[in-house]
C-alpha cells in the first residue's frame, strides 16, 4: 500500500492535477511599476476580458501568483520590487513587460534604470512592445499557461538555488541595503 502511494506514477498524476489547477487560475498582483501599467486595465475589463482565462487581480503579495514588471525599473523601485517578490509564496512567476525589461528600451542611456531584468529577478515570459497591446498581453498569459502546464515555469526554484549570484548583482546597483538571511 505504501509502495503504491509513493511511486513515481502517482506523483506524476498529482503533478498533472496541480499544474492544471495552477494553469487556469492566475492571480496577478495589482502593482504597476512603470508606464506599461496603463495597458493592464483594458486587459482586465470588458473589451479584452482576461477573466475568462481565470486571471484576476489580487490585492497583496501574499495572495498573488504573478508579478508583472511593467516597463522600466529604476534602482529605487528595484529595492521595493525585491521586497515584494520575496514576500510572495511559491510557486510564483515573473512576467517582463515591454522592451525596457529586455534591453533597456527607450531608456538605454539613463543613469538610473536597469537595463536587463534577467540578472536581478528570474523572468519566465517576456512580452515585447512599447507598450504591448492587450491582445499581446493575452498571448503572453497564454504562453505562461503553456509553460506551467508542462512544468517548466521554474523561476522561483532558480532564484533559490542561485541566490548568491542574484544577490551579488543586486548589490552592485543598490550598495547600501541590508538584506535578511533566509533559511529556505
Amino acid at each position: 500500500m505504501i509502495k503504491m502511494i509513493n511511486d513515481k506514477n502517482s506523483q506524476k498524476i498529482v503533478d498533472i492535477i496541480q499544474n492544471w489547477s495552477r494553469k487556469h487560475s492566475i492571480w496577478v498582483l495589482a502593482y504597476g511599476t512603470g508606464c506599461g501599467a496603463i495597458e493592464i486595465p483594458p486587459t482586465m475589463t470588458s473589451r479584452y476580458d482576461a477573466e475568462r482565462m481565470g486571471v484576476r487581480g489580487a490585492a497583496t503579495p501574499r495572495q498573488a501568483d504573478v508579478l508583472l514588471i511593467t516597463g522600466y525599473l529604476t534602482t529605487k523601485t528595484l529595492k521595493r520590487v525585491l521586497r515584494v517578490y520575496e514576500q510572495m509564496q511559491d510557486p510564483k512567476y515573473v512576467i517582463g513587460f515591454g522592451s525596457c525589461t529586455i534591453n533597456g528600451g527607450m531608456y538605454y542611456d539613463s543613469y538610473n534604470t536597469i537595463k536587463v531584468l534577467d540578472k536581478y529577478l528570474p523572468v519566465d515570459v517576456y512580452i515585447n512592445g512599447c507598450m504591448p497591446r492587450p491582445e499581446a498581453v493575452l498571448a503572453g498569459f497564454g504562453k505562461l499557461q503553456e509553460l506551467i502546464g508542462e512544468g517548466k515555469a521554474n523561476g522561483a526554484t532558480k532564484y533559490k538555488e542561485n541566490l548568491e549570484w542574484y544577490r551579488a548583482n543586486q548589490k552592485k546597483v543598490i550598495p547600501t541595503w541590508k538584506r535578511p538571511e533566509y533559511n529556505w
Binding site: I17, E51, R52, G54, A58, A59, T60, R62
Partner: protein, 303 residues
C-alpha cells in the same frame, strides 16, 4: 445506533453539499455579473480551481499561533451554523442536529466567526487587517438590528424559537411566512444585503479597499479555509431563509431552485450599485430596515 450512524453520515453529506453548492453559486454569480457587464466571464467551476490552486501552494508563511486561530474559528462557526439549520423537510438524511432553541443559538453563532478572525488578524501586525476588521464589526452592528427585530417578531407571533416548528406551521396552514408576516420578510431581506457582503456593503473584503482588509496577510491554505468557510456560511444562510420564509423544501431540486431565487436578490442588486462607506452603511441600516422591523414587531404583538 442506527440513528447515530445516519446522523453522522448525514452531517458529512450536508457539509459536502454546502461546499459544492456554495462554490457553484459563487461561480455562477461571477458569470452572471460578467454577462451584465457585456463580457464572457470565467467558467462556472472557476471557484473550485481557485481553491485547488490555493491548496497547492508549497510554502507557507505565518506569524505565530494566533494566526491559525482566525480561519479555524471561521470554519468552525460556519459548520456549527450549518448543523443547526434543517436542510430538508422530511427524510432521514439532511435532518441535522436541530433542537428547540435554534434561532437564539444561531444568532450567537453568526457573530462568532468574525470575532475569531479579528483575533487572527490582530496577530499579524498588519495595520490594514486591523482597520478592515474594525470596519467589518461596525457594519455588523448595523445589519444585526433589523435582522434581530425580524426574528424576534416571528418568535413573538408564533410563540416558538425552533425552526422545525416554523416549518410545521407553514406546512399546516399552507401559506408561506413570506405572506403572513410580510414586514418581517422585508426587514430580513434588507438585512440580507449586509450579510452577504456584496455591493454596496463590501467595503470589508474588496481587493481595492485597504488591500482586502482582514484577509491581507493570509495566503495559501489560510485563504483556502476562508473561501470555503464563506461559501458554507452562505449556503447555511440561504437555507435558513428558505426554511423560515418559504416553507422549506421537500427534495434537493426544490431546495436548489428556492435558494437560487433568494440568492439572486443580493447578487443582482450588487451588480449595479456602488460602495457605501461604513458610516453610510450603518445610517442606512438604522433607517428604513429598522422601521420595517419595528412595524413587524408591532404587527406580531397586535395581531
Amino acid at each position: 445506533m442506527e440513528f447515530t450512524i445516519y446522523t453522522l453520515l448525514g452531517i458529512i453529506a450536508t457539509i459536502v453539499l454546502a461546499f459544492v453548492v456554495g462554490m457553484t453559486y459563487m461561480g455562477l454569480s461571477r458569470k452572471i455579473i460578467a454577462r451584465i457587464q457585456n463580457r464572457k466571464g470565467p467558467p462556472v467551476y472557476q471557484n473550485f480551481i481557485d481553491v485547488m490552486k490555493l491548496y497547492s501552494k508549497t510554502t507557507a508563511i505565518n506569524h505565530g499561533f494566533m494566526q491559525h486561530v482566525g480561519p479555524a474559528f471561521l470554519m468552525v462557526a460556519s459548520i456549527m451554523a450549518l448543523m443547526v439549520v434543517p436542510v430538508l423537510n422530511e427524510g432521514r438524511w439532511f435532518g441535522n442536529l436541530n433542537f428547540s432553541g435554534d434561532l437564539v443559538f444561531l444568532l450567537y453563532i453568526m457573530v462568532f466567526g468574525p470575532l475569531g478572525m479579528a483575533l487572527g488578524a490582530g496577530q499579524t501586525g498588519n495595520p490594514n487587517s486591523a482597520i478592515g476588521v474594525t470596519r467589518g464589526l461596525s457594519q455588523m452592528v448595523g445589519f444585526e438590528i433589523p435582522w434581530v427585530m425580524a426574528l424576534v417578531a416571528l418568535m413573538i407571533q408564533f410563540n416558538t424559537t425552533s425552526i422545525v416548528d416554523l416549518l410545521n406551521i407553514q406546512t399546516e396552514s399552507g401559506i408561506w411566512l413570506m405572506f403572513s408576516s410580510p414586514f418581517a420578510f422585508i426587514a430580513a431581506v434588507l438585512a440580507m444585503l449586509g450579510m452577504f457582503r456584496y455591493s454596496p456593503f463590501d467595503i470589508v473584503g474588496a481587493p481595492t479597499e485597504l488591500a482586502s482588509g482582514p484577509v491581507s496577510e493570509n495566503g495559501g491554505k489560510y485563504l483556502f479555509t476562508m473561501m470555503s468557510s464563506s461559501s458554507i456560511f452562505a449556503f447555511a444562510k440561504l437555507v435558513l431563509y428558505v426554511d423560515i420564509f418559504m416553507g422549506g423544501a421537500g427534495n434537493l431540486v426544490e431546495l436548489l431552485l428556492k435558494t437560487f431565487a433568494i440568492y439572486l436578490i443580493p447578487m443582482l442588486y450588487g451588480a449595479v450599485s456602488p460602495r457605501y462607506r461604513t458610516e453610510q452603511a450603518i445610517r442606512y441600516f438604522w433607517g428604513w430596515p429598522t422601521f420595517f422591523g419595528l412595524l413587524a414587531i408591532i404587527y406580531a404583538v397586535v395581531f
